[in-house]
Amino acid sequence: MRIVVCIKQVPATNDASIDPETKRIVREGVKAILNPFDTYAVEEGVLLRERFGGEVVVLSMGPPKAEAVLREAVSQGADRAILLSHRAFGGSDTWATSYALACAIRKLGGADLVICGKQAVDGDTAQVGPGIAAHLGWPQATHVMQVRSATPETLVAVRMHEDGYDVCELTLPAVITVVKDINSPRVPTLRGRLASQKMEIPVWTPEMIGADTAKIGLDGSPTRVVKTEPPPPRNKASRRITGSPDVCAAELLHELRTRSLV
């Protein structure tokens, strides 16, 4: 089985800031981490490879320093890593990102399964996984909380929904996006870490993946961020309630009733 896991480097949440000029997230000089959901995607890929053989290829699109998260994924058990990096990719929205990742997957010679995280914690869009599936014309299952069974041709996935779950059988190749519940990622071994530091990571350009340059980067992105601002300030008239339990309860109830919330 060839499993491609798409992973993204994201700024550590609390450091988020936006360039007032370009309206894009500032990624320079900000502490960056592997998108938390993608750790589960990598682990699921490694678990499937341990059962079926084959390889786990981790794929990321981003600036050169994004290779750090690829190395991290390799230390977690992925076999090899590819970085899509070039100025022309810059400013890609989820449409253009999923297009570029789909081109890279084709260039790899396809895959049996593509695994993404449920969403990236910077943009919180959850759009890239289904986008890749659409570009490749493959079936998809999102919010996967369990891979119930798999063969080299099919995969049975349990999808989480607001009011329960459902189970679907996908004919491979397919794309799944995973939530945290799906597994517990292993801790990388020291040997894995050392090996990952030495690994060569090829860098692919738009030309190498046969991407249409009109479909990548800022120009290939249908969406434009036109304004960014801090969220509306929270009402600072916060209230503190102390005292005996019955007084606390009564005062809270009073607050809720005045606001017609109970």
Binding site: T94, G131, L170
Partner: protein
């Protein structure tokens, strides 16, 4: 579709709402979006259409018209008995090609967020996820889509000027439904599902809906969440009792989920769900940033903690200092059961 001399902006009209259908029923978020769509369409002097893909849903169109739709397209087919992203996306793209809406709104639910990105790629148009604010440029129909990013630390406004239609998923409970007016009239358009060989590539083989395990944090207006201070699974019974008194849902911090006290579907935060309820009551949750990013956009935040200095107690609108095992039973006692 990308706009160019051959594909003119003016060829796209009306605001569509893709109905959220769960277990055969149109969900409240649909009516909220119809309310939002009505306001946008009125600015543009255009119509609101709802698109209902489901099985046995044909009888439910009246409610949509009553709350603001001018037309409802129904594709009633057993293939939509379960959530079938591929067939639904293909069908929506066919309908978009045929009727050319200017904007398409859909709930930012697990289904909506799986389906619409697929549509965006197939129809070659822009998509903004998880909008909390929508406005429209009266002249050219550009949607101004506002959404939180970085867990609510930043609000971004997004425009898609060169593509039509413009797609947006919108958070439940943010927009307001209009009061139903049974005298309103509208058209019902029935469209067939066009089967496709690719439909065989995915089959939903089991569906498990449960009102008991229903978490539905995205849709809840009152969320009562518990953290490590609940000490064990029994602690969550207190929260459930309180939730049932106020018609709320139960959430949890990662610490409580990781301890196995409550299933992951309840987890709020960076690696759980992002919620935006009217009330969020955090019981014994210290409020680490990974939790805060999932709930800091809620309208009213109540914190209950014995430690007055936690980050959650600092950001809360109402902070109650005390022991939850004493205060919660008292609160439950004081709220009459309904």
């Amino acid at each position: 579709m990308r706009l160019n001399p051959a594909v003119a902006r003016g060829a796209f009209r009306n605001v569509w709402v893709v109905a959220e259908v769960l277990s055969g029923h149109i969900q409240p978020v649909t009516h909220e979006l119809v309310g939002a769509a009505r306001a946008l369409a009125d600015v543009r002097g255009s119509e609101v259409w709802a698109i209902v893909l489901g099985s046995g849903v044909a009888g439910q169109t009246g409610g949509l018209i009553a709350c603001g739709c001018d037309a409802v397209i129904v594709v009633d087919d057993p293939a939509f008995a379960a959530f079938n992203d591929e067939a639904a996306a293909r069908t929506l793209v066919q309908l978009i090609d045929k009727y050319r809406p200017e904007s398409v709104l859909c709930g930012a639910t697990t289904c909506g967020r799986a389906l619409i990105p697929r549509v965006a790629v197939l129809a070659d148009c822009g998509l903004t996820a998880d909008c909390t604010g929508l406005a429209i440029d009266p002249d050219n129909g550009d949607l101004l889509q506002t959404r939180p990013a970085f867990g609510g630390n930043i609000m971004a406004t997004i425009r898609c000027s060169n593509h039509r239609p413009q797609l947006a998923t919108v958070r439940p409970r943010v927009m307001k439904a209009l009061d139903a007016d049974p005298r309103r009239t509208g058209r019902v358009i029935r469209e067939p599902l066009t089967p496709d060989p690719s439909d065989a590539l995915k089959r939903v083989i089991e569906v498990f809906h449960s009102t008991e395990t229903a978490v539905n944090l995205g849709d809840a207006s009152f969320i009562i969440s518990g953290g490590r201070g609940l000490k064990g699974p029994e602690g969550f019974n207190l929260l459930r009792q309180l939730a049932s008194r106020v018609g709320g849902a139960v959430g949890a911090s990662r610490a409580a989920v990781d301890a196995g006290w409550i299933p992951y579907a309840h987890q709020v935060g960076q690696t759980g769900q992002t919620v935006q309820s009217k009330v969020y009551m955090a019981c014994a949750i210290s409020g680490q940033i990974q939790h805060l990013v999932g709930m800091q956009s809620c309208d009213l935040i109540i914190a209950l903690d014995k430690n007055p200095d936690t980050p959650m107690m600092q950001i809360a609108d109402i902070a109650i200092v005390g022991d939850l095992f004493e205060i919660l039973p008292e609160l439950i006692r004081q709220i009459p059961a309904t």
